[in-house]
Amino acid sequence: MAMDLITTNTSSNAASSDFTSSIDSTYKLYIFKFYDVNPATDSTNFQMEGSTGSFGVTKTTTAFSAYHYESDSGASLGYEAGHDLAQSTSPQPLSGSVGNGADECAAGELYLFNPSSTTYVKHFYSKLNLYGADNHSGNWLIAGYFNTTSAVSAVRFSMSSGNFDGTIKMYGVG
Protein backbone atom coordinates (compact mmCIF):
# COMPACT_ATOMS: atom_id res chain seq x y z
CA MET A 1 0.00 0.00 0.00
CA ALA A 2 1.31 3.38 -0.91
CA MET A 3 1.73 6.54 1.05
CA ASP A 4 -1.58 8.09 0.13
CA LEU A 5 -2.43 11.76 0.33
CA ILE A 6 -5.78 11.75 2.12
CA THR A 7 -6.57 15.36 2.96
CA THR A 8 -5.08 18.80 2.43
CA ASN A 9 -6.21 21.57 4.78
CA THR A 10 -5.22 25.09 3.86
CA SER A 11 -5.74 27.56 6.68
CA SER A 12 -6.11 31.28 6.20
CA ASN A 13 -6.40 33.17 9.46
CA ALA A 14 -7.99 30.07 10.99
CA ALA A 15 -8.28 29.16 14.67
CA SER A 16 -7.60 25.50 13.97
CA SER A 17 -7.06 22.92 11.26
CA ASP A 18 -9.13 19.83 12.06
CA PHE A 19 -8.86 16.40 10.50
CA THR A 20 -12.12 14.81 11.57
CA SER A 21 -12.60 12.09 8.99
CA SER A 22 -10.59 9.28 7.43
CA ILE A 23 -8.53 8.52 10.53
CA ASP A 24 -9.49 4.90 10.98
CA SER A 25 -8.22 1.35 10.55
CA THR A 26 -7.46 1.83 6.85
CA TYR A 27 -3.89 2.83 7.69
CA LYS A 28 -1.46 1.84 10.44
CA LEU A 29 0.37 5.13 10.20
CA TYR A 30 -0.81 8.66 9.56
CA ILE A 31 1.71 11.35 8.62
CA PHE A 32 0.86 15.03 8.88
CA LYS A 33 3.12 17.48 7.07
CA PHE A 34 3.10 21.18 7.93
CA TYR A 35 4.09 23.83 5.44
CA ASP A 36 4.45 27.57 5.98
CA VAL A 37 2.67 27.77 9.34
CA ASN A 38 2.53 31.49 10.08
CA PRO A 39 0.72 32.61 13.26
CA ALA A 40 -1.28 35.80 13.57
CA THR A 41 0.06 36.29 17.08
CA ASP A 42 3.78 36.60 17.61
CA SER A 43 5.61 34.10 19.80
CA THR A 44 2.93 31.42 19.98
CA ASN A 45 3.34 27.64 19.93
CA PHE A 46 2.06 25.40 17.16
CA GLN A 47 0.22 22.58 18.90
CA MET A 48 -1.88 19.49 18.31
CA GLU A 49 -4.62 17.56 20.02
CA GLY A 50 -6.35 14.23 19.45
CA SER A 51 -9.93 13.15 19.85
CA THR A 52 -11.61 9.90 20.80
CA GLY A 53 -14.99 11.57 20.39
CA SER A 54 -13.99 14.81 22.00
CA PHE A 55 -10.67 16.63 22.07
CA GLY A 56 -8.62 16.49 25.24
CA VAL A 57 -7.08 13.02 25.36
CA THR A 58 -4.60 12.27 28.15
CA LYS A 59 -0.99 12.41 26.99
CA THR A 60 2.48 11.80 28.35
CA THR A 61 5.24 13.26 26.20
CA THR A 62 8.85 14.42 25.87
CA ALA A 63 10.21 17.54 24.23
CA PHE A 64 13.66 18.77 23.34
CA SER A 65 15.03 21.39 21.00
CA ALA A 66 18.09 23.01 19.56
CA TYR A 67 18.19 26.73 18.82
CA HIS A 68 20.54 29.27 17.32
CA TYR A 69 20.09 33.02 17.01
CA GLU A 70 20.70 34.91 13.80
CA SER A 71 22.87 37.25 15.85
CA ASP A 72 24.96 34.26 17.00
CA SER A 73 24.25 35.41 20.56
CA GLY A 74 23.13 32.00 21.73
CA ALA A 75 22.87 28.38 20.68
CA SER A 76 22.04 25.29 22.68
CA LEU A 77 20.48 21.86 22.84
CA GLY A 78 18.24 20.94 25.74
CA TYR A 79 15.20 19.28 27.16
CA GLU A 80 12.12 21.51 27.13
CA ALA A 81 10.38 20.87 30.44
CA GLY A 82 7.77 23.49 29.70
CA HIS A 83 6.65 21.75 26.54
CA ASP A 84 6.22 18.17 27.72
CA LEU A 85 3.10 16.70 29.30
CA ALA A 86 2.57 14.21 32.13
CA GLN A 87 -0.89 12.69 31.95
CA SER A 88 -2.29 15.97 30.76
CA THR A 89 -5.27 16.66 28.54
CA SER A 90 -3.80 19.95 27.32
CA PRO A 91 -2.82 20.32 23.69
CA GLN A 92 0.70 19.12 22.92
CA PRO A 93 3.05 21.89 21.75
CA LEU A 94 4.94 20.85 18.63
CA SER A 95 7.09 23.96 18.76
CA GLY A 96 8.32 26.84 20.81
CA SER A 97 7.53 30.42 19.94
CA VAL A 98 6.94 30.88 16.22
CA GLY A 99 7.38 34.33 14.76
CA ASN A 100 4.54 36.06 12.98
CA GLY A 101 6.67 38.22 10.69
CA ALA A 102 5.77 38.33 7.04
CA ASP A 103 8.46 35.79 6.11
CA GLU A 104 8.42 33.79 9.37
CA CYS A 105 6.89 30.34 9.66
CA ALA A 106 7.31 26.74 10.80
CA ALA A 107 7.48 23.48 8.87
CA GLY A 108 7.67 19.85 9.86
CA GLU A 109 5.85 16.59 10.27
CA LEU A 110 3.96 14.45 12.80
CA TYR A 111 3.75 10.64 12.72
CA LEU A 112 0.74 9.07 14.46
CA PHE A 113 0.87 5.29 14.78
CA ASN A 114 -2.12 2.97 14.59
CA PRO A 115 -4.69 5.44 15.95
CA SER A 116 -7.56 3.00 15.53
CA SER A 117 -6.11 0.40 17.92
CA THR A 118 -8.41 -0.39 20.81
CA THR A 119 -5.75 -2.38 22.66
CA TYR A 120 -2.76 -0.10 22.98
CA VAL A 121 -1.87 3.51 23.68
CA LYS A 122 -1.26 5.61 20.54
CA HIS A 123 2.30 6.74 19.96
CA PHE A 124 3.32 9.80 18.00
CA TYR A 125 6.43 11.79 17.26
CA SER A 126 7.12 15.01 15.45
CA LYS A 127 9.96 17.07 14.08
CA LEU A 128 9.67 20.73 13.21
CA ASN A 129 11.85 23.69 12.39
CA LEU A 130 10.73 27.23 13.09
CA TYR A 131 11.67 30.83 12.60
CA GLY A 132 11.47 32.10 16.14
CA ALA A 133 9.82 35.29 17.24
CA ASP A 134 13.20 36.63 18.33
CA ASN A 135 14.96 35.71 15.11
CA HIS A 136 16.32 32.26 15.82
CA SER A 137 16.18 28.86 14.17
CA GLY A 138 14.54 26.29 16.43
CA ASN A 139 14.54 22.56 15.81
CA TRP A 140 11.87 20.86 17.93
CA LEU A 141 11.45 17.13 18.55
CA ILE A 142 8.38 15.91 20.38
CA ALA A 143 7.24 12.36 21.14
CA GLY A 144 4.74 10.65 23.36
CA TYR A 145 1.51 8.74 23.48
CA PHE A 146 -2.18 9.28 23.83
CA ASN A 147 -2.81 7.26 26.95
CA THR A 148 -6.02 5.67 25.83
CA THR A 149 -7.11 2.36 24.39
CA SER A 150 -9.96 4.08 22.58
CA ALA A 151 -9.49 4.83 18.91
CA VAL A 152 -8.19 8.30 18.10
CA SER A 153 -10.35 9.44 15.20
CA ALA A 154 -9.56 13.12 14.83
CA VAL A 155 -6.57 15.44 15.13
CA ARG A 156 -6.60 19.20 15.58
CA PHE A 157 -3.78 21.66 14.95
CA SER A 158 -3.81 25.19 16.30
CA MET A 159 -1.68 27.92 17.81
CA SER A 160 -1.48 28.36 21.57
CA SER A 161 -3.15 31.72 20.98
CA GLY A 162 -4.65 33.35 17.92
CA ASN A 163 -5.15 32.23 14.36
CA PHE A 164 -2.72 31.05 11.70
CA ASP A 165 -2.08 30.56 8.01
CA GLY A 166 -0.60 27.38 6.64
CA THR A 167 -1.08 24.11 4.83
CA ILE A 168 -1.32 20.74 6.55
CA LYS A 169 -1.47 17.50 4.61
CA MET A 170 -2.51 14.14 6.01
CA TYR A 171 -1.10 10.95 4.47
CA GLY A 172 -1.94 7.36 5.21
CA VAL A 173 0.61 4.57 5.12
CA GLY A 174 -0.03 0.84 5.10
Binding site: M1, A2, M3, D4, L5, K28, L29, K33, Y35, D36, N38, A66, Y67, H68, Y69, E70, S71, D72, A75, S76, L77, A102, D103, E104, C105, A106, A107, G108, E109, K127, N129, L130, Y131, H136, S137, G138, N139, T167, K169, Y171, V173, G174
Partner: protein, 197 residues
Protein backbone atom coordinates in the same frame (compact mmCIF):
# COMPACT_ATOMS: atom_id res chain seq x y z
CA UNK B 1 2.62 -5.65 5.04
CA UNK B 2 3.84 -4.08 1.83
CA UNK B 3 5.07 -0.53 2.28
CA UNK B 4 5.13 0.42 -1.38
CA UNK B 5 5.88 4.04 -2.02
CA UNK B 6 6.28 4.83 1.66
CA UNK B 7 9.09 2.36 1.79
CA UNK B 8 10.49 4.28 -1.12
CA UNK B 9 10.12 7.53 0.76
CA UNK B 10 11.69 6.23 3.92
CA UNK B 11 14.34 3.93 2.60
CA UNK B 12 14.91 5.04 -0.94
CA UNK B 13 14.11 2.00 -3.00
CA UNK B 14 15.10 2.81 -6.54
CA UNK B 15 12.55 2.74 -9.25
CA UNK B 16 9.50 3.17 -7.02
CA UNK B 17 7.30 6.07 -7.93
CA UNK B 18 3.74 7.06 -7.11
CA UNK B 19 1.69 10.17 -7.51
CA UNK B 20 2.46 11.14 -3.90
CA UNK B 21 6.15 10.38 -3.51
CA UNK B 22 8.19 10.54 -6.68
CA UNK B 23 11.81 9.67 -7.28
CA UNK B 24 12.96 12.63 -9.38
CA UNK B 25 16.66 12.13 -9.79
CA UNK B 26 19.53 9.86 -8.81
CA UNK B 27 23.12 11.05 -8.91
CA UNK B 28 26.19 8.98 -8.21
CA UNK B 29 29.49 10.50 -7.18
CA UNK B 30 32.71 8.70 -8.01
CA UNK B 31 35.67 10.65 -6.73
CA UNK B 32 33.57 13.76 -7.40
CA UNK B 33 34.03 17.25 -5.99
CA UNK B 34 30.27 17.84 -5.73
CA UNK B 35 26.83 16.69 -6.78
CA UNK B 36 24.27 19.29 -7.80
CA UNK B 37 20.57 19.05 -8.57
CA UNK B 38 19.88 21.95 -10.91
CA UNK B 39 16.50 20.96 -12.29
CA UNK B 40 13.27 19.56 -10.94
CA UNK B 41 13.05 21.75 -7.81
CA UNK B 42 9.92 23.81 -8.34
CA UNK B 43 6.33 24.25 -7.22
CA UNK B 44 5.35 20.74 -8.27
CA UNK B 45 6.10 19.45 -4.78
CA UNK B 46 5.67 20.92 -1.34
CA UNK B 47 8.63 19.01 0.04
CA UNK B 48 11.83 17.56 -1.35
CA UNK B 49 13.69 14.72 0.36
CA UNK B 50 17.32 13.96 -0.45
CA UNK B 51 18.64 10.56 0.58
CA UNK B 52 22.34 9.86 0.96
CA UNK B 53 23.80 6.40 0.51
CA UNK B 54 27.33 5.24 1.17
CA UNK B 55 28.94 8.65 1.07
CA UNK B 56 32.65 7.97 1.46
CA UNK B 57 35.04 10.93 1.39
CA UNK B 58 38.50 10.82 -0.10
CA UNK B 59 39.87 12.90 2.78
CA UNK B 60 39.49 11.87 6.41
CA UNK B 61 37.95 14.12 9.05
CA UNK B 62 36.06 16.39 6.68
CA UNK B 63 32.43 17.53 6.65
CA UNK B 64 29.55 16.57 4.35
CA UNK B 65 27.73 19.79 3.41
CA UNK B 66 25.03 21.38 1.26
CA UNK B 67 24.08 24.81 -0.09
CA UNK B 68 21.40 26.16 -2.42
CA UNK B 69 20.84 28.77 -5.07
CA UNK B 70 17.83 31.05 -5.18
CA UNK B 71 16.15 31.41 -8.53
CA UNK B 72 18.50 33.18 -10.94
CA UNK B 73 21.43 33.13 -8.52
CA UNK B 74 24.75 31.31 -8.72
CA UNK B 75 27.53 30.47 -6.33
CA UNK B 76 25.60 28.39 -3.78
CA UNK B 77 25.81 31.00 -1.04
CA UNK B 78 22.34 31.73 0.31
CA UNK B 79 21.99 33.00 3.89
CA UNK B 80 21.36 30.27 6.48
CA UNK B 81 20.64 30.23 10.21
CA UNK B 82 20.89 26.71 11.57
CA UNK B 83 21.48 24.32 14.45
CA UNK B 84 23.54 21.16 14.70
CA UNK B 85 23.72 18.47 17.38
CA UNK B 86 24.81 14.88 17.59
CA UNK B 87 25.01 11.72 19.63
CA UNK B 88 28.10 9.54 19.46
CA UNK B 89 29.61 6.33 20.75
CA UNK B 90 33.13 5.05 20.20
CA UNK B 91 33.67 1.47 19.08
CA UNK B 92 35.85 0.82 22.14
CA UNK B 93 33.04 2.04 24.42
CA UNK B 94 35.37 4.64 25.94
CA UNK B 95 33.29 7.70 25.16
CA UNK B 96 29.66 8.43 24.41
CA UNK B 97 27.34 11.36 24.69
CA UNK B 98 25.37 14.02 22.94
CA UNK B 99 25.82 17.76 22.57
CA UNK B 100 25.21 20.85 20.52
CA UNK B 101 27.95 21.58 17.98
CA UNK B 102 28.68 25.29 17.90
CA UNK B 103 31.12 25.13 15.02
CA UNK B 104 28.73 23.27 12.76
CA UNK B 105 25.84 25.73 12.89
CA UNK B 106 25.46 29.07 11.09
CA UNK B 107 24.15 32.49 12.12
CA UNK B 108 23.18 34.26 8.91
CA UNK B 109 26.11 32.55 7.24
CA UNK B 110 26.51 31.86 3.55
CA UNK B 111 28.81 28.86 3.85
CA UNK B 112 27.86 25.34 2.95
CA UNK B 113 25.80 23.93 5.82
CA UNK B 114 27.39 20.95 7.57
CA UNK B 115 25.20 17.87 7.61
CA UNK B 116 27.88 15.53 8.95
CA UNK B 117 30.91 16.47 10.95
CA UNK B 118 34.30 14.71 10.94
CA UNK B 119 33.44 11.92 8.54
CA UNK B 120 35.73 8.93 8.31
CA UNK B 121 37.42 8.14 5.01
CA UNK B 122 38.40 4.55 5.69
CA UNK B 123 37.68 1.97 3.05
CA UNK B 124 34.61 0.70 4.89
CA UNK B 125 33.55 4.04 6.40
CA UNK B 126 30.63 6.06 5.11
CA UNK B 127 27.54 8.05 5.99
CA UNK B 128 23.86 7.69 5.17
CA UNK B 129 20.92 9.93 5.85
CA UNK B 130 18.37 12.32 4.53
CA UNK B 131 17.62 16.02 4.15
CA UNK B 132 14.10 17.45 4.04
CA UNK B 133 13.62 20.79 2.27
CA UNK B 134 10.19 22.35 2.74
CA UNK B 135 8.34 24.26 0.06
CA UNK B 136 11.40 25.68 -1.72
CA UNK B 137 9.38 27.45 -4.41
CA UNK B 138 7.47 29.59 -1.93
CA UNK B 139 8.11 33.30 -2.38
CA UNK B 140 6.60 34.52 0.91
CA UNK B 141 8.45 32.66 3.66
CA UNK B 142 11.91 31.43 4.59
CA UNK B 143 12.69 27.84 3.59
CA UNK B 144 13.05 25.34 6.41
CA UNK B 145 15.16 22.19 6.27
CA UNK B 146 16.27 19.43 8.59
CA UNK B 147 18.49 16.42 8.23
CA UNK B 148 19.48 13.25 9.99
CA UNK B 149 22.70 11.44 9.20
CA UNK B 150 24.50 8.49 10.70
CA UNK B 151 28.15 8.30 9.93
CA UNK B 152 31.49 6.75 10.69
CA UNK B 153 33.66 9.13 12.65
CA UNK B 154 37.20 10.00 11.62
CA UNK B 155 39.42 7.00 11.08
CA UNK B 156 41.63 7.45 14.15
CA UNK B 157 38.61 7.30 16.49
CA UNK B 158 36.24 4.64 15.16
CA UNK B 159 32.75 5.64 16.26
CA UNK B 160 29.14 5.92 15.23
CA UNK B 161 27.80 9.47 15.15
CA UNK B 162 24.14 10.39 14.71
CA UNK B 163 23.99 13.99 13.49
CA UNK B 164 21.08 16.42 13.23
CA UNK B 165 21.19 19.69 11.31
CA UNK B 166 18.20 22.00 10.90
CA UNK B 167 17.51 25.59 10.02
CA UNK B 168 16.18 27.93 7.41
CA UNK B 169 17.42 29.52 4.26
CA UNK B 170 16.67 33.12 5.02
CA UNK B 171 15.24 34.25 1.74
CA UNK B 172 11.79 34.73 0.30
CA UNK B 173 13.09 33.92 -3.17
CA UNK B 174 12.38 30.50 -4.59
CA UNK B 175 15.13 27.91 -4.22
CA UNK B 176 15.70 25.88 -7.34
CA UNK B 177 19.19 24.38 -7.09
CA UNK B 178 21.08 22.44 -4.43
CA UNK B 179 24.67 21.27 -4.16
CA UNK B 180 26.34 18.68 -1.93
CA UNK B 181 30.06 18.39 -1.33
CA UNK B 182 32.72 17.63 1.26
CA UNK B 183 34.40 20.53 3.03
CA UNK B 184 37.59 19.40 1.33
CA UNK B 185 38.33 16.71 -1.18
CA UNK B 186 36.21 14.46 -3.32
CA UNK B 187 33.74 11.75 -2.42
CA UNK B 188 31.93 8.66 -3.59
CA UNK B 189 28.25 8.07 -2.97
CA UNK B 190 24.72 8.20 -4.24
CA UNK B 191 22.16 10.94 -3.60
CA UNK B 192 18.53 10.60 -4.60
CA UNK B 193 16.02 13.43 -4.79
CA UNK B 194 12.35 12.73 -4.04
CA UNK B 195 9.34 14.98 -4.37
CA UNK B 196 6.39 14.75 -1.98
CA UNK B 197 3.04 16.12 -3.12
Amino acid sequence: MPLGAHKAALFGVAGVSTDTVVLLSTQTASDSASLSFTSGIDSTYGEYIFKFYDVNPATDNEEFTFQVNADGQTGFNETITSTHFWAYQLEDDSTRGMNYNVGQDQAQGTAYQQLAYQVGAGSDESLVGELHLFNPSNTTYVKHFYSKVNCSYETSYPASTNQFAAGYINTTSAIDEISFKMSSGNFDGTIKMWGVK
